[in-house]
Structure formats: C-alpha cells, structure tokens
C-alpha cells in the first residue's frame, strides 16, 4: 500500500476509501471525535482535564488485562475507565479536604501503578512490542466493524445522556452554589458526568491510544471556547474542529505513514495555539 497524495481531492478520497480498514478507521474516528468534542467541552468548562488524563491511563491495564484474559479489548477499556471514574467520584467524597500536595502525589502514583499493571499484563500476554505502542499511542489499522458498531452505541448513549442533563450540568458547572440552591442535584450530576467521561475516554483511547486521549478530548473543545463564548456556537465549533482534526490526522497518517498520534497532536496543538495567540492579541 503506497498511497500517494495528489492535489485532486476526489482521487485522494478515493484512495482513502479503498480499503475497508480505512473506512472503519474514518467511521470510528468520526464517532469518537463527536463524543470527544461534546464531553470534552464540559471537561474544559469544569476544568477537569487532569482527571481525563488519569482516567485514560487507568484504562490501560483494562485493555491489556482483557487481551490477557482473551476478552475483547473494548470491554477492558470500558470497565476500567468507568470503574476508575466511580472510584474517583466516591474517593473524593471520602477524602474530604485535600491539599495540592497530597492530591498530586496520589494521582501521580495511581497513574504510575496503572501503567505498571498494564505493562505487566502485556508481558504476561506475551505480545508486548506492538501492543504497547498500539495501546499507548493508538492505531487506525485493524479497527473492526464490530468495534465501529460498539462505538456508535456508546456515542448514542452518551449523546442521549448529555442531551438530557446538559442544561443542569452546565448550570452546575458554571455556578455550583446557585445551582445547588436552585435544587439542581450537583453531586449526582458530577458522578454521572464522571461516568460519561469514563465512557468517552474508553472510546477515544481505542483509536488514539491511552496517552493521547487527552489531546482529542480537550484540545478542540478548548480551542472552540477560546474562539467564542456563545454556547451553541462553541459546542458546534468544538464538534466541527474535532471531526476535522481527526480526519486530517487520519489522512495525514495514511498518506505519509507518520504515526497517527503525532499527526493528531500536532494538528490539535497548532489550532489551539493559533486560537490562544489570537485571543491574546485581541484581549
């Protein structure tokens, strides 16, 4: 397979869609991009980007454990990511008042332990080399139709939940005190949101890898929020950017053979940086 990029978009698109794996990759990528943008938009609003990263790292032993146990990888991702989300949700309730020092040490350790565990499972599984890179940095080769279907289900589920709780969630995220006073179930909503985040993270990690989930989840949404403060516009922009970035990354990776992770992070950084710079100039 030696695709060659030409200036003719039709021919390029033709080359892209030639192979089923690529069609699956584009489909999965699009679905994942939409989830990422919608959930990520709230993540940026609630300033929970670090939690994102931790959840994705926690899903790593899930995936490799699933491989070891002979289960479909997706199940491992989802179980561990959602489990991690619940652990964080209830852990922070029990923990009570914590400080910056204590928390960062805990989070750092949890991340390292999760990665160590994941690596252990992979070693036991025996298929270390490629698996490590695939799990950590993503791959768009080898996505099956079944995976695409699962992702679609998750996307519809996530979309449905967000449509239902979106408004109170927004209220609670922006002004917790007033929301609580108004009867919005702030605590319950944050648990729901964390679970949703877990689902999103698990879905995204399957395509772009555990370590780069953050980039897709946070960057397009953050870029959109920098460009405009009008709610519907910024949501729509986030989704658009996310899908465009994913397509661009996949196309770039396909034609140049560069790693998908590199393509995606570069594109998202460039757009985010541009929005940042434009903001600074304006303000």
């Amino acid at each position: 397979m030696n695709p060659s990029f030409s200036v003719n978009p039709i021919s390029d698109l033709d080359q892209l869609l030639q192979y089923p794996f690529m069609v699956h990759a584009l489909a999965a990528g699009t679905i994942v991009a939409v989830i990422a943008a919608l959930v990520g938009w709230f993540v940026v609003l609630r300033r929970e980007s670090f939690v994102c990263h931790t959840l994705s790292v926690m899903s790593f032993p899930g995936a490799s454990g699933a491989a070891l146990a002979g289960l479909p990888l997706a199940s491992g991702y989802f179980v561990f990511a959602v489990g991690g989300a619940l652990a964080i949700a209830f852990g922070s309730r029990i923990g009570g008042k914590r400080s910056a020092t204590a928390e960062s040490a805990v989070v750092g350790t949890v991340g390292a332990v999760a990665l160590a565990l994941g690596f252990l499972f992979l070693s036991l599984y025996g298929g270390i080399l490629e698996s490590v890179e695939t799990l950590l940095f993503g791959s768009f080769v080898g996505i099956t139709a079944a995976q695409v279907r699962t992702l679609l289900v998750v996307a519809l589920l996530a979309g449905g939940v967000l449509a239902f709780v979106g408004r109170p969630l927004f209220y609670a995220s922006v002004d917790e005190r007033s929301a609580r006073a108004d009867g919005v179930p702030v605590q319950a909503l944050s648990v729901v949101f964390l679970v949703l985040l877990g689902l999103a993270v698990a879905a995204i990690a399957q395509i772009v890898g555990v370590l780069l989930t953050f980039a897709l989840l946070v960057a397009p949404a953050a870029t959109a929020q920098l460009v405009t403060t009008r709610l519907r516009l910024s949501l729509a922009l986030a989704v658009t950017l996310s899908v465009l970035e994913t397509w661009a990354a996949l196309t770039l990776a396909y034609f140049t053979n560069a790693a998908l992770g590199f393509c995606l992070t570069t594109i998202s950084l460039v757009l985010f940086a541009a929005a940042r710079v434009a903001r600074e100039r304006r303000g």
């Binding site: 008042k97 914590r98 400080s99 910056a100 020092t101 204590a102």
Partner: protein, 297 residues
C-alpha cells in the same frame, strides 16, 4: 527631636508630644529613619518620614490598607530600597544585621496538608540558612544545643503543648505563637511582626499581644508590630507609628489617634470616636483600596 512630619499648624502639638513621652525604655534608637521616602515603581508610597524605634519599645505600626506599613518593614529588612533619605537599623544599613532581626511576614497560614511539626519550623528559624543536612551522629554537641534553644523559645511563647503536632493541624493562634517562636530563635534584638493578629479570634489576639509585650519587657527586644486595628493592642503598646496620606506620625496612642492628628495626617476630615465599649473607631477616611468598614485605630 521631631517625631512627626505634620504640617506647620501642628508644630505646637509636637512640642507637647515630646514633653509627654514617658520615661522607661532607654532612649537609644534601634531604628532611625530620616526624611525617608519609598516608591512602588513610579508611585510614591510615603515620603518625608522621620521616625525611630527605641530599644525595648513595643511599637504598633498602624494605618489603612495600602498605606505602606508592610513596606516600612521591608525597608527595615533591607528588602526595599529608599528612594530618598536615610535609614539605620541596629547601627548599620538595613539588611546588614539580618541575624539580629526576627521577622514574621504577613498571612502565613499553613494549610492542613503541611505535615511538618511546628518544632521543626522553629528549628529552621535557627539553622535554616546553614547548608547540609543534620545527620544522626554528627555534631552531637551542636545539635543538642540547637534542641535546647528550640525548647526554650517554644516554652517562652507557651506553645509546648502543640509544638510536636503537624503545624497544619494547629489553630491560627497556635500557629502564630510557633511562628513567633521561630522569629525569636536567634535571640533577635529587633522583632518585626507583620499583621500577626490578622484572622485570630479576640482571645487569641489578646494573648498574643500580651505575649509580645512580655517578651519586650523581659528580654529588652524592640518590637514593631503591624496591625490594621489598634484596639487589641491598645493597652500593651508603648508607642504608635501611623502611616497615612503618604506620611507618618509617631507618638503614644493617645497622642496619635486623635481627630486632630489624624485629620492633619490624612489631609481630610477624619474623626476618631470612642464607642460605648471603649473601642476606638476612625470614620471618614479617604479611600484607599479595599475596606471601608475599618473598626479602627
């Protein structure tokens, strides 16, 4: 000996100020500022300041927010340069006699997570600037001398009961006592305390003020304590230096905290009222950034 930099009309009052000075602590000046001015960037904070701190005195540094009280302490520590005038601290330029000055900066409260013992914090006051790490077995004699001194100052401030607890778990008043112990560790001649009573409840404010006065009298330490409310300190202070309107006035509390003196200082019509509970309140202060409702002196 002029203490205040009030305008001409107040000169007569100055003579009375001088005459009314109580005998007591020796008249030798530990700190002297002559015609001093200090600026933050382009803006002058205060100018034409002529004040002194005499040995063994307990002096309150007062004034509204932003008047330059903390700046005054920074000048004494050599952390801020004068734009005009001279300053001498313990007979040398500011910043040269650091080891003889104990300093308590503003608003240090340790949050719950700081799991270091109060005692260790006090010990740092003694040896924190020395390189290396204390190792078991080395320099036994020096280490036991250090420990003895730490015990001494902790006892002096009455913090023995909680000095071994992590400082983050101590109450505001307890933390302040430990921090005063830290400032005392090197037997300073001059103690500079920046808003140590801020945020403490009334009983703690009273006990810390009493503690400071005790240290003053017993060990002959000169103390400059910055506060934004004179009332807790009123019965303990020897003198007051009041910063406002870009200038400063010094004298006993009854001399300085009067309608006349403060109006002259602010250059506006302020009034000093005494409430039924005995507290002094200043009203009509021209605005400086932040609070209007200073229950003040």
């Amino acid at each position: 000996m002029r203490d205040s930099s009030a305008p001409c009309g107040e000169r007569v009052q100055d003579e009375r100020l001088v005459a009314a000075l109580p005998a007591g602590p020796s008249m030798s000046a530990v700190v002297e500022l002559r015609d001093a001015a200090v600026a933050h960037g382009a803006a002058t904070v205060w100018a034409g300041v002529d004040v002194e701190l005499r040995a063994g005195e307990f002096v309150g540094i007062l004034g509204p927010n932003g008047a330059g009280k903390s700046t005054f302490l920074e000048v004494l520590l050599g952390l801020k340069e004068l734009r005009e005038g001279t300053a001498s601290v313990l007979g040398a330029a500011p910043g040269e006699r650091r080891e003889a000055i104990g300093y308590l900066p503003q608003r240090r409260s340790f949050d719950q997570s700081v799991r270091v013992r109060g005692r260790d914090l006090v010990a740092l006051g003694l040896d924190g600037t020395r390189w290396g790490t204390p190792m078991p077995g080395l320099f036994r004699a020096r280490r036991s001398a250090l420990r003895a001194r730490v015990d001494e100052v902790i006892a002096a401030v009455g913090a023995g009961a909680y000095a071994n607890r992590p400082i983050g778990e101590c109450s505001g008043g307890e933390q302040q006592r430990l921090l005063i112990a830290q400032a005392l560790a090197r037997s300073p001649q001059l103690l500079l305390l920046d808003e140590p009573l801020d945020g403490l409840d009334l009983p703690s404010q009273a006990s810390v003020s009493a503690l400071v006065q005790r240290l003053c009298r017993r060990d002959g330490i000169t103390v400059a304590l910055v506060a934004h409310d004179v009332n807790p300190l009123l019965s303990y202070l020897d003198r007051v230096i009041y910063f406002a309107g870009g200038r400063a006035v010094a004298g006993t509390p009854t001399e300085v905290i009067t309608t006349q003196t403060l109006s002259a200082l602010y250059g506006a019509g302020v009034e000093v009222l005494r409430r039924s509970d005995g507290r002094l309140v200043v009203v009509g202060q021209p605005d400086t950034p932040a609070h209007h409702d200073h229950a003040h002196g």
